[in-house]
Symmetry: C2
Subunit: 458 residues, 2 copies
């Protein structure tokens, strides 16, 4: 028998959908200066809808870049407080020519909404707002828990303002748990809670050789080449099986518990499909003694994202480049201290630079991995609520990527985060034809409401 | 006692200089479509001056891109024929902000002409024209040898048209020796003939990994990275001492004769100055058991000029690149067959590609090294004439770069080339503030005339 909230969602489907479409029509691309006004408009839209849903003390808070939106409802004395987080900014839509319908003119096809931000994160963030509306509608204006909302507009560009805000507003944001819907179901219909995120160290490594670019005919054979020097260095970072060869790198790596490893084996995961439909190469690579899920969730990585320097135009130019810079990142796993990894990287670069090459390492960011304790009461309640709504046991997974705000909540507010997302693996976040399944949107509203009800009953 | 030609040059210094300045004012940048008209204007300028100098049958020959200029004087029966080659096109002048005076408004400072093309090659090519004028002026309209001129406008962009022309006009271009002034003195005041040029194989190596760029959080650890795969491959091309590790690469390499090696030891060469003033790195690199001159003149090289692929913009982007392409070149030395080297490169790439990476090798050009026999009569005459004019013994050197036309003359016309240049090592070819010393211009005219006189007396 459907719950009262489910009934409410069903009766209001068309309006709930149309409201989201209105939000998706605002091109709130946070990285592009020409969309600054649109980003502000999206913040105002979210603030308005929070107010209409019954939240109070709604604030649009200016920052150095794009505004934060805050709101609260604190009339459940003795009940826990949940901090809902999401973001209203989106990635740029290009390459535009690969979209089948305009990215900011949402199109409904095959039960999906196609639009930039449909899943990441406007659709998922808006589920929280509508869950509040639904709960109040069926409970005479009351909510089962106290709520605080913090919605940002810089998630796609690093989230600097919200990080400062969380660090400086500990009292205002005080809560028992955070709730974030910016992840996905492991596969269609499988209730999924994410309990681990890798950290990220991002660095530029610069190599210098000759004082200026040289002619490779006149100097080739006796002059150091900055691009080749960087190649020689970077090639030493991993062996042919993908093991990182930076000394000390694995010292602190925490292996997953046996129970977690066993649980991964029960996930509906096909290596063959992962290779064929997601990666699309001739074979999967990386540490052969680790399972594929362990490689992408629980092992550190070393990736080179690109090298700038030298000649890459059309045709032939015979230059010995004076300078070259590589963009490099390392994903970090639980127990690895980013500061220790930075020191290990620095030392390794110094000790391995080729003859005639000078090097410099610039750290752009360094954040640790995040673990959520699956036995925390809020997580247990979320798992139970999720399973009840989808009719299957909830699986606990990790994600290989990084959501820095989860670390900020842990560090500054001392609270865990429920990562309860309703995206699907093929939703195409950051890609052309991003989509969000409409039934997942409705299911998300009802499931979030159910979780809040259950959490309030503890 | 100065020769008659020297006297003529001295009397006409101002006019000889002004004519060159007029040519340097034409921005005949062959690679830029907006300068196509200027390139044509420079061709016409050269044709006019060849006619005024007394050459006959002057032709401006259209090609697929920029015109060739041909002229001849064939009234010395029984005397040898010299084919004078040069080019009237120039490199682009950028970066403009580094020039102390405008690149196409020649400026005279400290006895030098500062302008794009001053040395490479307008100044040097025009010496040939003025040598003809001077010889005719002092010999009642006669020349000591038969002469053919072939001046091109695509040298800086590959010289495709002239290569086709030489291959198809063997009878018209028939000669005993070619004369090219597009090189430099080993050092100031040292008469220098270049008798060896390295060949060049230029290739693009493309690596493919995943089907599309992937998120390094979601797939890092299990998916191949095309940029890193290419790095792993390329790093295997050389050992830490710069020896190329492509099997078979050194099989055909001809070591220089002992006499040539001894002659290099007598050259005024300082490794310390080469490092400090030319290369400008912390140390010289390359094969430790080879002298520096051998490394840049007589040994094959493997250079990476750049890698395209992945992310190289400002900030951080965590992409696993699907594709990457490296620009790679190998300088070739005498006896190396470019076809065998291409085959060795292909095989090596195939056998060394990392797991999950597909590769493709595209050859953009492949030309062999050139050797000129220093005992050829024309070279001997040139060496003697050069020594007489500068008052020092002529040195025979090689150059590490490539001048493909010299190979075309050898292959299609069966003739050697006298590489008699009057540039200085710091003339800054292809760089801002390119210069040509005015006294070298006058000396070049007189020396070329002296060579032609001596060559006619044989």
């Amino acid at each position: 028998m459907p719950s009262a909230v489910e009934g409410y969602v069903r009766e209001n489907e068309a309006r709930l959908l149309n409201e989201l479409l209105d939000l998706l029509r605002i091109p709130s691309v946070s990285t592009l200066p020409e969309h600054k006004g649109d980003v502000a408009r999206a913040a105002q839209f979210v603030a308005d809808r929070l107010g209409r849903a019954g939240l109070e003390n709604v604030q649009v808070i200016p920052t150095a870049r794009h505004p934060l939106v805050y709101a609260e409802w604190l009339h459940a004395p003795g009940k826990p407080t949940v901090l809902c987080y999401g973001h209203y900014d989106v990635q740029p839509p290009d390459p535009l020519e690969l979209w089948n319908s305009p990215p900011f003119d949402p199109s409904i096809r095959d039960g999906n909404i196609y639009a930039r931000g449909a899943c990441d994160d406007k659709g998922q963030m808006y589920m929280h707002v509508k869950a509040v509306e639904a709960l109040r509608a069926v409970n005479e204006g009351k909510l089962p828990v106290n709520l605080k909302f913090l919605i940002e507009g810089e998630e796609e560009i690093g989230g600097e303002s919200v990080a400062h805000y969380v660090a400086s507003q500990k009292e205002k944001l005080k809560a028992d748990v955070a709730l974030v819907s910016d992840t996905e179901l492991f596969s269609d219909g499988v209730p999924t809670l994410c309990i681990g995120l890798r950290g990220l160290l991002y660095a530029e490594i610069e190599a210098s050789g000759p004082a200026r670019d040289l002619h490779s005919g006149m100097y080739g054979g006796a002059a150091p080449n900055a691009v080749y020097g960087l190649i020689e260095l970077l090639a030493k970072a991993k062996d042919a099986d993908g093991h990182i060869r930076i000394p000390g790198l694995y010292d602190d790596v925490a292996a997953p518990e046996q129970a977690e490893i066993e649980s991964w084996k029960r996930l509906p995961f096909s290596e063959e499909e992962f290779l064929r439909h997601e990666v699309g190469s001739t074979q999967l690579t990386g540490e052969p003694e680790q399972s594929v899920l362990a490689r992408i969730w629980a092992r550190p990585t070393f990736e080179v994202h690109g090298i700038a320097g030298g000649f890459t135009g059309a045709g032939a130019k015979t230059v010995i480049p004076a300078k070259a810079t590589a963009k490099v990142s390392m994903r970090l796993v639980p127990k690895q201290d980013p500061r220790r990894v930075v020191a290990a990287l620095d030392k390794w670069v110094q000790e391995n630079r080729p003859k005639g090459i000078q090097t410099q390492v610039r750290i752009l960011s360094a954040g640790p991995a995040i673990s959520v304790n699956p036995n925390h009461p809020a997580i247990q309640v979320a798992a139970k609520a999720f399973a009840e709504m989808l009719g299957k046991p909830t699986v606990f997974i990790r994600a290989g990527g990084s959501i820095p705000i989860v670390g900020d909540f842990a560090t500054h507010l001392g609270i865990p985060t429920v990562l309860m997302g309703f995206g699907l693996p093929d939703d195409g976040l950051h890609s052309p034809n991003e989509k969000f399944r409409i039934s997942n949107y409705y299911q998300g509203i009802a499931t979030i409401a159910h979780f809040l009800e259950q959490y309030g009953r503890q």
